[in-house]
């Protein structure tokens, strides 16, 4: 807790937020927005929420900036010039925003102070999680235990949200499912060859390490910050990197869209399937402890830990596949041919 540092990050964050909504060039706005996410990530780290910071870095500052860039590339870089006669609209917007802002400010007076150890959030449920996580689940990372076990039901639906996002992109943009699967030749006749060979070589060296790290993040989420979401995003980003440095086709030779969609469905199915397995074995939905009856050499407590690993792997599958699907469709306008 260094308040000077917090203040600096906050000031920069507000600056970035203002800049990204007032910039007329959407490409710059997207980059500044990425910077904003990165500052938020620093703030989470400072507050000790390392898992959240990890996700913010991977999703907010990482892939979502790439998605924005891909979308801007295919639409329009410049903001539409303002039309006249919208004064009333602006006024209504301003007054509404000011009212909501004042409302939110007025509530902060009742809030506990920054990092107050006696705040309701710290004294009510947290002690249970802190004292009971290791004895009851054998998972050292409490955040993972809350995420994948105590509130694992929420996480299952969050993973479904990711799945839905990918499916929505496909449903709106995608040509997937139509008969013609042949790729159109790119209009300029350029191919993967036109890209810089320095970039390509660097990426070729870089990608295996990235993927190894991603798998580590997934597998080690019980013990250190990380887990299925972060690992899945990094894994997806490694494919996106191939697609950017080479060509969409080069990437798709390694991970076809059809296969990616299968992975996406499979991932959530693993999660919900483990939950349903608990139900079939006679416990409540997602009560992993019952899994000890079918897993060899486990106690009900270790079974919780293994159950969490299982669902984290499911999450990683879905997140990885959906990141690739969103990128492929947004970057190629749903034609999944050449890309940017």
């Amino acid at each position: 807790m260094i308040w000077q540092f917090d203040l600096l990050i906050l000031a920069l964050g507000v600056l970035c937020a203002l800049a990204s909504i007032s910039l007329k060039d959407l490409l710059s706005a997207a980059i500044v927005f990425g910077a904003y996410s990165f500052l938020m990530c620093l703030l989470w780290t400072e507050m000790g929420a390392v898992d959240v910071a990890f996700t913010e870095a991977a999703v907010g500052a990482g892939v979502s900036t790439v998605f924005f860039l891909a979308a801007v590339y295919h639409t329009n870089r410049a903001v539409k010039p303002r039309r006249r006669g919208r004064l009333l609209h602006k006024l209504v917007g301003l007054v509404t925003a000011a009212c909501i802002g004042l409302l939110l400010l007025s509530a902060t007076a009742d809030f506990p102070t920054w990092a107050d150890p006696n705040s309701p959030a710290s004294v009510y449920l947290s002690p249970f999680y802190i004292t009971e996580t290791i004895p009851q689940t054998a998972v050292p990372n409490i955040v993972t235990a809350v995420l994948a076990d105590f509130r694992g039901f929420d996480t299952m639906f969050e993973t479904s949200v990711i799945f839905v996002a990918g499916l929505a992109v496909l449903a709106i943009l995608g040509s997937y499912g139509r008969r013609q699967r042949d790729y159109e030749p790119s209009p300029t006749g350029q191919d993967a060859a036109h890209q810089s060979s320095i970039v390509q070589t660097a990426c070729r060296v870089f990608v295996p390490f990235m993927q190894l790290f991603a798998l580590y993040v997934v597998a080690h989420g019980h013990h250190s910050p990380g887990g299925g979401f972060q690992g899945g995003v990094i894994l997806g980003a490694s494919f996106i990197l191939v697609a950017i440095s080479y060509d969409l086709r080069v990437m798709q030779r390694r991970l076809r869209e059809r296969l990616a969609m299968l992975f996406a469905g499979l991932g959530v199915l693993i999660y919900a399937g483990i939950g349903a397995l608990c139900l079939v074995l006679g416990a409540n939905f997602l009560d992993y402890s019952i899994l000890h009856t079918i897993l060899p050499a486990t106690s009900p407590i270790m079974a919780r830990s293994h159950g969490m690993l299982g669902v984290e792997i499911g999450v990683a599958f879905t997140v990885m596949a959906i990141m690739v699907i969103i990128y492929v469709n947004v970057a190629s306008h749903g034609k999944s041919d050449r890309g940017l």
Binding site: L104, F111, A168, I172, L279, N284, F285
Partner: protein, 496 residues
């Protein structure tokens, strides 16, 4: 065999698991999608009915997801209010799915798999929002329902894309408000479990933070349900949505949002807080009055049949919000009964509009010309829905409106009573105008005499669901007394 103990979670998990299976198997063979969707939704409906019976016999059911006790884990709570809403949601979704076959095959033959996956996931989201006893879990399911809804509307192409985009912006603001409200409650109480929050809250009633939380959560629900001044996103989104989408979302989305408002009022903030601490109930009933009058007047000025129906939804939302905020027993009873009745009535009207679109490729009022001769059965079923919207006994619409009027009189809110009567009058004008158009034959040809009109009924997969819904409207009307005494009177908070 799975014990009845597990029914509550099966209501949500059955469609969830099926959705992923539909997606995987549908990509291999898309003929698989339609029967699998029906099977999944039928399973969900069976579990919902099983739960309803348990609630009627045993009272409130608690289910611990993951085996963790509340407030540490997530809890499902099924009481007399949401047991009823769950059956309605599962039932409406099943009927809408049965009727969707032809429309989907015609409107987007290449995207059948995606459509049905999203359709089943949207139903999962709505059911999950209804059943949960956890304020944050509700938000997660709200996200699922919203995202699938945006995609399903955008699949209508062209104008639907822009309408869906507007909905994305407004809907996201609504969801954010709800989440911010939950965040405030968490900061102040340290809990996310609804029942737990409600027991902690009375000591914090005077604080600004709880006031802000209440405002944010209610605003979020109002945006999501298109409550009058915040209804701007709804007409376009529902008008340009594909028929199969609008048959699902028009009856359910607004009704589930009304349910959430009632849940937040009585199970999170507490009836004492919303009715006595907050000095706003008169104001909100006035807003509801404006919603009813405004929605009715806009509906009156439409030439597009489907668009007219969307404005009727705006008016109906006014009924339910107003009824809940009358703060009288009969008013709240009417509001809850109207959630059930209005879902079924709206389903009837939108199934009919799907048939009109399928048969005539348009949804203008002029597309309805000659309908009585061409499709007598379809028109009869539609007439039942229309009479229910007007509020003619013994259709369901009459009974909920009757309770709402009595509630308005109990509360002395006469403007609300007048608005309800005015809305009935406008609905009568609207629907009798439609009957008139449907009796006339299309314009005769140049020779001055028209060809005899052959009977050209809607396909069985669309007609049968419509007929079932028409029968349901009458049954709901006949059994409304039983519904009120068995379920709704237990759902009204005590001491009002």
């Amino acid at each position: 065999m799975i014990s009845p103990e597990q029914y509550p979670v099966l209501i949500v998990v059955t469609p969830l698991l099926s959705a992923f299976l539909i997606n995987i198997l549908g990509n291999m063979d898309k003929r698989f999608c339609y029967p699998a969707t029906l099977l999944a939704l039928a399973g969900s409906l069976a579990a919902a009915v099983g739960t309803l019976c348990r609630v009627a016999n045993e009272g409130v059911i608690h289910y611990r997801v993951g085996g963790w006790p509340p407030p540490f884990g997530i809890e499902y709570v099924v009481d007399h209010l949401n047991a009823l809403v769950l059956v309605v949601v599962a039932g409406v979704a099943l009927v809408a799915a049965v009727a969707s076959k032809r429309s989907v095959e015609e409107e987007f033959p290449h995207k059948i798999t995606q459509f049905y996956t999203l359709f089943v996931l949207l139903t999962t989201g709505l059911l999950g929002m209804t059943i949960t006893g956890d304020a944050f879990n509700l938000y997660v399911l709200m996200e699922i329902a919203a995202l699938t809804n945006y995609a399903l509307i955008a699949m209508g192409g062209n104008r639907a894309l822009m309408a869906s985009f507007n909905y994305v912006v407004v809907g996201t603001i609504g969801a954010c408000f709800y989440l911010l409200g939950v965040g405030h409650l968490y900061i102040m109480t340290g809990s996310l479990n609804m029942a737990d929050i409600m027991t902690i809250l009375p000591s914090l009633y005077g604080t600004n933070a709880i006031l802000v939380a209440a405002i944010l959560m209610l605003l979020g629900a109002w945006i999501k349900m298109a409550f009058f001044p915040l209804h701007g996103w709804l007409p376009n989104a529902y008008t340009y949505a594909p028929s199969a989408t609008s048959s699902l979302v028009a009856p359910l989305m607004t009704k589930v949002s009304v349910y959430i408002m009632i849940r937040v009022m009585f199970s999170v903030l507490g009836a004492t807080y919303v009715f006595t601490v907050l000095p706003v109930k008169e104001l909100i009933v006035w807003l509801a009055t404006a919603a009813i009058v405004g929605g009715s007047l806009f509906a009156l000025s439409q030439k597009d049949f489907k668009r007219m129906l969307t404005f009727l939804i705006v008016a109906e939302v006014g009924y339910m919000v107003g009824g809940a905020w009358l703060a009288t027993e009969r008013g709240i009873t009417g509001a809850i009964l109207h959630i059930v009745n209005d879902a079924v009535m709206t389903l009837c009207l939108f199934l009919f509009s799907a048939i009109v679109v399928y048969k005539t490729k348009g949804h203008q009022l002029s597309n309805l010309e000659g309908m009585f001769k061409k499709m007598p059965l379809t028109m009869t079923a539609f007439a039942v829905g229309a009479l229910s919207m007007i509020g003619v006994p013994p259709t369901a619409g009459f009974f909920s409106k009757w309770y709402l009027i009595l509630g308005g009189i109990d509360a002395g809110q006469w403007q609300f009573v007048v608005a309800l009567l005015f809305s009935s009058l406008v609905n009568a004008v609207l629907f009798f105008r439609i009957f008139e158009i449907a009796y006339y034959e299309p314009h005769s040809d140049h020779h001055g005499h028209s060809a005899p009109v052959a009977i050209d009924e809607a396909p069985m997969s669309m007609l049968l669901p419509l007929a079932v819904v028409a029968v349901a409207i009458i049954m709901l009307g006949l059994y409304s007394g039983e519904i009120v005494t068995t379920f709704i009177q237990h759902a009204v908070p005590a001491g009002i």
